[in-house]
């Protein structure tokens, strides 16, 4: 089922949560709404579900305008951040709820409901917990039950509001992968909200980056990561070094060093610009490989798992350069604190304008 979001605007006293948002979601797509907290992404999700009403604009589900339909008639599955399981009902009754509350003319027989619930519980690998109550389950288990409950009524679309943010890191990762696989199996059109860029990059077919009630960029994970539309997206998707510099003769000058930028800067007048460099795009070497290499002094070394984080000081830079190198390179170079190395800045992206950090 496709979702069409047309010119949705929603204001609260004092601020605009959503400012003229339009977005199309294709059938079977898994979309991430990514943005900092308070950017309006959850509000948009709640408006699609009918839990909130927009000031203007419309929501079209499968060519049908559902803007003014009450939430219970929208047939939208909603998964809440804090699971929102019915605490007085056991797992079976939680999942069966949507089937049991149907008007008697549309309700399936008891055995059909039972089969459907058991099928869903097998799907989310929770069929062993039929008689348990929500309080007897872990966070990850609760969220899987919440998912089964939302899927029970065959929703046209599945909406997930920060579904993993209340879980601890390891469970979050597991559940994320599991959800991706589940989506490949059942292919229900889904939108999930997250503030975790890693989650969005790993899980989504397309990412919608939202900031202050506006869409900053829409694209595949690769697109938004490799070709951020603006400084905000660059900054929000992953760690990044931001240096103030000047554009001069087609290069960006950081400190005293003219550096080649990713995009052509020819034709730009001399003006201030901000250079964005991802830590893992910074090369570290004992030998100078090109003229534009900088000399940096290692001030700190952080073991971050498979990657090693380096904090480098370089003459003319207003703040330390953060670099990340693979563990084996670090081992081969035998780096230690206080040493001088050559630093190559790759894939430098320059933004000019009024973007503030």
């Amino acid at each position: 089922m496709s979702i069409e979001i047309r010119n949705i605007t929603k204001s609260y006293p004092g601020y605009t949560a959503l400012d003229n948002i339009s977005l199309n979601v294709g059938t079977g797509e898994l979309i991430a709404l990514l943005g900092p907290s308070g950017c309006g992404k959850t509000t948009l999700l709640r408006i699609i579900a009918g839990l909130e009403t927009a000031d203007s604009g419309s929501i079209i589900l499968e060519k049908k305008d559902t803007t003014n339909l009450p939430a219970r008639e929208k047939n939208v599955g909603f998964v809440f951040q804090h699971y929102a399981l019915f605490r007085r009902l056991n797992v079976f009754d939680n999942v069966a709820f949507g089937l049991n509350v149907r008007p008697s003319s549309q309700r399936q027989s008891k055995s059909e409901i039972r089969d459907r619930v058991m099928h869903l519980l097998q799907l989310v690998q929770m069929d062993w917990a039929v008689k348990r109550y929500p309080s007897q389950l872990s966070g990850g288990q609760r969220q899987r039950i919440a998912l089964a409950r939302a899927l029970a009524v065959n929703p046209k679309v599945l909406l997930l509001d920060e579904p993993f943010s209340a879980l601890d890191a390891k469970v979050r990762l597991e559940l994320r992968r599991w959800l991706r696989k589940l989506h490949e199996d059942i292919h229900v059109t889904s939108i999930f909200v997250t503030h975790d860029q890693e989650e969005a990059l790993e899980l989504a077919d397309r990412i919608v980056v939202i900031n202050k009630g506006k869409i900053e960029q829409v694209g595949s994970p690769q697109e938004v990561y490799d070709h951020p539309a603006n400084a905000f997206v660059y900054n929000f998707l992953g760690n990044v070094n931001v240096f103030h510099g000047r554009i001069r003769n087609g290069k960006v000058v950081l400190g005293e060093h003219p550096i080649e930028a990713l995009q052509g800067l020819n034709g730009h007048d001399e003006k201030a610009g901000q250079a964005f460099i991802r830590p893992h795009e910074i090369g570290i070497s004992r030998i100078r490989s090109s003229e534009s290499d900088l000399v940096g002094i290692i001030r700190d070394i952080r073991i971050m798992g498979s990657q090693i984080g380096l904090e480098l000081e370089s003459a003319g830079f207003d703040k330390p350069i953060e670099a990340e190198i693979p563990r084996d390179i670090w081992r081969n170079l035998e780096l230690s604190r206080g040493e001088e190395v050559f630093v190559t800045l790759n894939k430098v992206k320059v933004f000019t304008g009024d973007y503030e950090i």
């Binding site: 219970r72 929208k74 019915f86 009902l89 509350v101 309080s135």
Partner: protein
Amino acid sequence: MQPSNTRQTVNIPGPRSKDPLAVRILLIGLTFLFFAGFIFMPLALVFSQALQKGVQLYLDSIVEPYALEAVKLTLLTAAIVVPLNAVFGLTAAWAISKFSFKGKTLLVSLLDLPFAVSPVIAGLIFVLLVGSRTPFGSWLGEHGIKIIFSTPGIVIATLFVTFPFVARELIPLMEAQGREEEEAAITLGARGWQVFRIITLPNIRWGLMYGMILCTARSIGEFGAVSVVSGHIRGMTNTIPLHVEILYSEYNYTASFAVASILVFLALITIAIKGAVEKHVHNNQ
């Protein structure tokens, strides 16, 4: 959100406090002294006075027609007031905790009004509103409806005085539980009534019960507001507390205390139910 499975009891070994023995004896002693002087002694006195002239007279005072009428009226009032206030309280708590609207703060403050004003004033308000000398009261009188100096007046005054109990009990509970479960139920296609019956009510039932118990206790014992609107007609508009007062002012101490002991029994029953509910709520958490 759901603390139940992470909560653990912490057992601290040894004595609870390091306060000197003397301080502890003093504090515990004072508590007991206060308890004995202000709670136990009066209670004992009620029964000793009631039974002073023998069990026979005690029983006679209780089964005397006017006393029985007073018990009947009191229980009738409670039977009308408690369900009504349960519904009103539930509605108010629902509105306040689950919706945001203009005038909400005012409504929350007004909810405490019956606690804040003296019950006598509460009674007077209704006399001034629907008494026989007011336009509205005389209009009602012409249509054969009597409110002041009659059962409806007693019910209305008691309703007013006991209104906050249920709402006050439910608002914090419903606010803590939030709207998410209800929202989940709605997205799953449940209608308003189904949401209330299957989700909301089971979540708040013990809080509701607790509020209703407090409401019952107060409606049985209410004196001031009822006294103003009742007119003290024996066998007609006398509740137990009013009857106790009449007997007492007639120097009929034994009968007065005997009837008062009925109130004590009702209070003890209420406390027992309240304790049972509290224990249940505690075990459920």
